[in-house]
């Protein structure tokens, strides 16, 4: 096992220049290691994604506590994250387990999984050794962020009736610091969470989406044709959001009241933090389930304004508050502004909105063909990802119904549903890649959380998603290298170290590609913080200009960067900066 010291060396900039040949050799060795029986036969060579879950050694199972009581929580989890917890340069995988319910008991202990990436396409579950295997509550999602800027990602795990913060000790272990930090979020059913710096002090703050008022003591009873089933979400009262301010000393202050978040009651689930109006402050889009979505514009000084109504992202055109679960943001139509997706229930269609400097945003659900593809599915985790590195942000969505009895009442909606891989034509119109996507996209799951990351460091984005009461699915991307790419790993200095909130603009000969480092995104999940920008056919020998707007407001310009590799970029001091936050 490579020591942590060596890992740090490997990550430094000079190391890349001097050790590139060695890296190349390593890459070759890694790709050869992936040549295992079943993974290089002609059928998998032609598929975009290959399910490598068993080969990777991932055999953990989610436990939802399914019972005859049909508590709604049984059908809502679990979370997934890509993170490099041990700083070895390889993305590991964290999976959040559910829990027992009064009549839904497990014969074995319910544990989370922390799969350490061994670098050869295999993973090893080290959750117990790391100290993150057990939770004192029913687990839901995870948000990964380096809240103390020590260079090691920490974990905030949501759940019911509490949440927990695990500090990464930097030595492969974590310490649970919830009480000391003051982020227990006690008594609430927390679903999603996102790290973001709302006040620009260089420290990551935390927003938590709370779902519904819930208790195991008061099961609600619903039936279809005499069969007990889950009640719809409207049977439950929504909850307000929680906002924690990072005090910088390992503690947080609950500023929900000061910020007005405590007034925003609804059934909140997914959250993504991104600068929606390009004013340099990080905003929040929150997907809510049968409650109107929220678009919270950060006005500075800890104040937010909900403009979802004016932006027309709160409701559908008919005034329906859809069943919003997952959410993500990226520039889908190449105009340099973030666009948004929210996943919804069958017959409601997953929503796509083109962001704009003015309101309302344009609802592109139908014209993008997203309505057509998502009509019969219940969508959960979702992420924009340029899977083929052609420069256009594609879309992956995982699906699965909540009610086993749905097939008793509908002929066109199933309980287990396939994921969707949708290829973007660059203008925000998608094509369903089902036939080429791989076996996983033609199989049916009760999928929930979805995380995206480059676990094999080959410059294309891979996917992991969780399934209710089943093993997760790890998908390796086989096609990203068809086009050149450039990768960035940002390190904030004045800004938060993770650089959440940073905006990267890559200028090519004929186009500009804009990417953000977002907080949150998807459903109950957290992603690889590195940014891969697919260059399409326009590789050139080097990438001409890259502009990075750091969360601090500092603007940095880089040039002559070589493609097909990751670049570590450290935020410069103020003297080197060329811009400020508005």
């Amino acid at each position: 096992m490579v020591s942590l010291q060596t890992d740090r060396l490997m990550k430094s900039k000079w190391f890349y220049r001097s050790c590139q040949p060695l890296l190349l050799l390593t890459a070759v060795m890694i790709s050869l290691t992936f040549s295992m029986p079943g993974s290089t036969d002609s059928s998998t060579k032609n598929e975009i994604f290959t399910d490598i879950t068993p080969q990777a050694g991932i055999n953990w199972q989610h436990f939802g506590g399914e019972s005859a009581d049909r508590f709604l929580i049984e059908t809502m989890g679990g979370g997934a994250a890509f993170l490099d917890f041990d700083g070895d340069g390889l993305q590991d995988i964290f999976l959040v387990n559910g829990g027992e319910t009064p009549h839904g008991k497990s014969t074995t202990a319910i544990r989370n999984a922390l799969y350490r990436n061994l670098g050869n396409g295999k993973f090893e579950n080290v959750a117990a050794e790391a100290g993150v295997d057990r939770l004192p509550f029913y687990g839901m999602g995870v948000a990964v962020g380096d809240y103390d800027n020590d260079g090691f990602p920490d974990l905030f795990i949501t759940g019911f009736p509490a949440s927990a913060l695990y500090h990464n000790n930097g030595n492969g272990t974590f310490t649970e610091v919830t009480e000391r930090a003051g982020v227990k979020n006690g008594g609430k059913w927390a679903a999603g969470a996102a790290w973001f710096d709302y006040d620009g002090d260089g420290l990551l703050d935390l927003v938590v989406t709370n779902y519904v008022q819930f208790s195991f003591d008061t099961p609600k009873r619903c039936e279809v044709n005499g069969t007990r089933t889950y009640c719809e979400q409207k049977a439950y009262q929504g909850m307000p959001l929680t906002l924690y301010h990072n005090n910088g000393n390992g503690t947080f202050t609950d500023v929900s009241a000061q910020s007005g978040f405590d007034k925003l009651s609804g059934r909140a689930l997914g959250v993504v933090a991104i600068d929606a109006n390009d004013d340099g402050w990080t905003d929040l889009l929150i997907a809510r389930d049968a409650s109107p979505n929220l678009l919270l514009i950060n006005r500075g000084k800890g104040k937010f304004e909900d403009v979802a109504l004016e932006a027309e992202v709160a409701y559908d055109p008919g005034g329906l508050a859809k069943a919003g679960m997952g959410v993500d943001a990226a520039d889908v139509n190449g105009d340099g502004l973030p666009d948004f997706i929210v996943t919804n229930f069958n017959d409601q269609y997953d929503s796509l909105f083109f962001g704009s400097h003015s309101v309302p945003f344009e609802d592109r659900t139908v014209n993008s063909r997203l309505a057509e593809y998502s009509k019969s599915y219940v969508g959960w985790g979702t992420h924009f990802m340029d899977y083929d590195n052609d420069g256009n942000q594609d879309l992956v969505i995982v699906n699965g119904h909540i009610n086993q009895v749905i097939e008793m009442t509908r002929s066109d909606v199933k309980y287990k549903e396939p994921p969707l891989l949708l290829r973007n034509n660059g203008k925000g119109v998608f094509q369903n890649m089902r036939e080429q996507a791989g076996v996983a996209f033609n199989s049916n799951y009760s999928a929930r959380g979805l995380a995206v990351g480059d676990f094999d460091n080959d410059g294309d984005l891979d996917v992991v998603f969780t399934c209710l009461n089943a093993t997760p699915v790890l998908l390796r991307n086989n096609v990203g290298q068809d086009h050149p790419w450039i990768g960035f790993e940002l390190q904030g200095t004045k800004s938060n170290r993770d650089a959440i909130g940073a905006k990267i603009t890559v200028s090519l000969a004929n186009r500009k590609l804009v990417r953000w480092i977002t907080g949150g995104g998807s459903y109950l999940a957290s992603h690889d913080k590195r940014v891969i920008v697919g260059l399409g056919g326009d590789s050139g020998a080097t990438v001409a200009i890259v502009e990075i707007r750091w969360p601090s407001g500092t603007v940095q310009r880089l040039s002559n960067l070589r493609p097909n590799q990751y670049h570590d970029v450290v935020e410069p001091a103020a003297a080197n900066a060329t811009g400020r936050r508005k």
């Binding site: 089933t229 008919g318 005034g319 069943a323 309505a371």
Partner: protein
């Protein structure tokens, strides 16, 4: 030939009782008898002047006289036979035909009686007696146009023909020509006063003309009428039917101690109180009846509705179950129980009752329509398809069956089948705007998933629905939304404002209006509409689920 009526026949008519009728109650029979009598007294009595020279005519005369004797003695069937023989022997004798027509009328063989009178009139078109009898028959047969024609002939011949005027007034009322009815009946006040039915007709006419005071004054006459409590009861029914509940209640209370049928009176009083939204009084009246030993299915049914209006769902359900127990063959008891369970969001219970109904009435399309409706509400769409299919098979001419089937098919994801059903139904029911609207809605859904022509077809259907019925708020709403979607903001505003005016309680209309106003820069109007939308949403969700009992249907 002038008016021709045999003295003997007049005598018979007076003695026996004149024409029979199809009305359900004796009062009208008595009325017609007396009318007949009046008609006779107003006729110049003279002999027919017809003597036959042939044996046939002589024989016919004998049979006719026998017939009249038999009719007088009450043996109508024998009288009919004799008079038929008379007519057979002397088919061109209008008097014999008239006599036969009279006896047939007394036997309630109105259609044949009418044909016979018409034959007599053809032979003697100036015979006003026969024409009167014919008009009276036609009135009883609800052939008002023909009745009116004949009465107008009579009145033209003699503008002072009071009985004809009376009947003409009543026919006018039946034909909803209330102005004529009131005018004509006002010319024969004495005759009107004599019969509760004619008083009722005049009162109804005044009500329809908006003249409540005159209507009430007319009904007041019943309180001193020789017809007694039954006449007053009729007046109360009229007032209740015309939503003058105070007058109805007053009339009923005035005969509380004298009306012979306490149960009927009590039920009617409770109905009037219910119609006047005095649910507490109505409930008490019914409970008093029940505690006095008067129990009937319709009493319990009305009691159930009282409890429902007073937000006592458990008691309401119990009352309906009692109604069912007392009269298990009355389908409407089950249907009403289902309706209140649906209204109270007790959907599994409503479904159970709907299934019971369908089992109890397996040949009733209505029962399967109800079952389908509840299955749709609880989200059991495939079951709803089956139920509506069954209803359709039982009654394919019922538009509700076709409409429900198409809606259920669409909800169950059977889009192609739904389209086929809608296509067939819009052809079968071209003037039923609901089909065009619902079909348009599924086309709009199809448009959302890539069907380019569907939206245009939907818009076409919506516009044609408006041609049939311009007052459908939902149609205006969807046209407005389409216009908004396609950037036609001004057009959208017109449609949506119309929709809001037609039905301000639809939340989505206000949401869409808010969007339009925002686009037009009218922020205050937009905020106001959003507030209305949110309030309506709140009211809707509170009405749906106070405590979320059983039956929250999952998605």
């Amino acid at each position: 030939m002038g008016d021709a009526a045999l003295p003997r026949s007049c005598t018979i008519r007076i003695g026996v009782g004149g024409l029979s009728i199809f009305f359900a109650n004796d009062r009208v029979i008595i009325f017609l008898v007396r009318l007949c009598t009046l008609l006779l007294f107003s006729t110049t009595l003279h002999g027919s002047g017809q003597s036959t020279t042939s044996d046939r005519n002589t024989q016919a005369e004998v049979h006719a006289n026998n017939g009249l004797d038999l009719a007088q003695s009450g043996n109508l069937s024998a009288a009919e036979l004799e008079l038929r023989k008379a007519v057979e022997l002397a088919p061109t004798n209008p008097a014999f035909l008239s006599d036969l027509g009279t006896v047939l009328g007394m036997e309630k063989k109105l259609e044949e009686s009418t044909n016979t009178f018409q034959r007599a009139l053809k032979l003697d078109s100036n015979n006003s007696t026969v024409r009167r009898y014919l008009a009276a028959n036609l009135w009883q047969l609800h052939q008002y146009v023909e009745a009116k024609k004949n009465l107008e002939i009579l009145v033209r011949q003699d503008s002072a023909d009071k009985p004809a005027l009376l009947l003409l007034g009543m026919v006018s009322e039946n034909m909803k020509d209330y102005a004529s009815a009131a005018r004509i009946l006002a010319t024969v006040p004495a005759l009107v006063r004599e019969q509760p039915e004619s008083i009722a007709a005049l009162a109804r006419s005044y009500y329809h003309l908006g003249n409540r005071e005159k209507a009430r004054a007319t009904l007041e006459q019943l309180q001193t009428h020789p017809a007694g409590p039954k006449g007053v009861f009729l007046g109360a029914e009229i007032a209740d039917g015309m939503q003058d509940y105070a007058t109805a209640e007053k009339l009923l209370i005035s005969i509380k101690t004298t009306f012979p049928d306490r149960s009927t009176l009590g039920y009617s009083l409770a109905s009037v109180e219910y119609h006047a939204r005095q649910f507490d009084d109505s409930r008490q009246t019914l409970l008093d009846l029940i505690s006095s030993g008067y129990q009937s299915s319709k009493i319990y049914r009305l009691l159930g509705w009282c409890y429902q209006e007073q937000h006592q769902p458990a008691q309401a359900a119990q009352a309906f179950e009692q109604a069912i127990a007392l009269e298990p063959t009355q389908e409407s008891n089950y249907a009403d129980l289902s309706k209140i369970l649906i209204a109270n969001r007790s959907l599994p219970a409503a479904l159970a009752v709907a299934k019971r109904t369908a089992q109890a009435f397996p040949h009733s399309a209505g029962a399967f329509l109800l079952q389908g409706l509840v299955e749709l509400k609880v989200g059991q769409f495939t079951d709803a398809v089956e139920s509506y299919t069954h209803a359709f098979q039982l009654d394919s001419a019922n538009p509700d069956a076709s409409l429900g089937l198409a809606e259920a098919q669409f909800a169950a994801g059977m889009s192609k089948d739904a389209t086929q059903t809608f296509e067939a139904s819009t052809k079968q029911f071209p003037r039923d705007a609901r089909f065009k609207l619902q079909y348009a809605l599924i086309l709009l859904k199809a448009a959302e998933t890539g069907n380019a022509t569907a939206e245009a077809h939907a818009e076409e259907l919506l516009k044609s629905a408006l041609i049939i019925n311009h007052s459908l708020p939902e149609v205006h709403y969807h046209l407005g939304n389409l216009a908004l979607k396609n950037g036609r903001t001004t057009e959208a505003l017109t449609y949506l404002e119309t929709a809001a005016k037609l039905d301000p309680r639809i939340p989505e209309t206000h949401f869409a209006l808010a969007r339009v106003y925002r686009r037009l820069g009218r922020k205050e109007a937009a905020s106001r509409e959003m507030e209305i939308y949110q309030n309506l949403q709140k009211v809707e969700s509170e009405a749906k689920s106070p405590n979320m009992p059983d039956g929250v249907s999952p998605n």
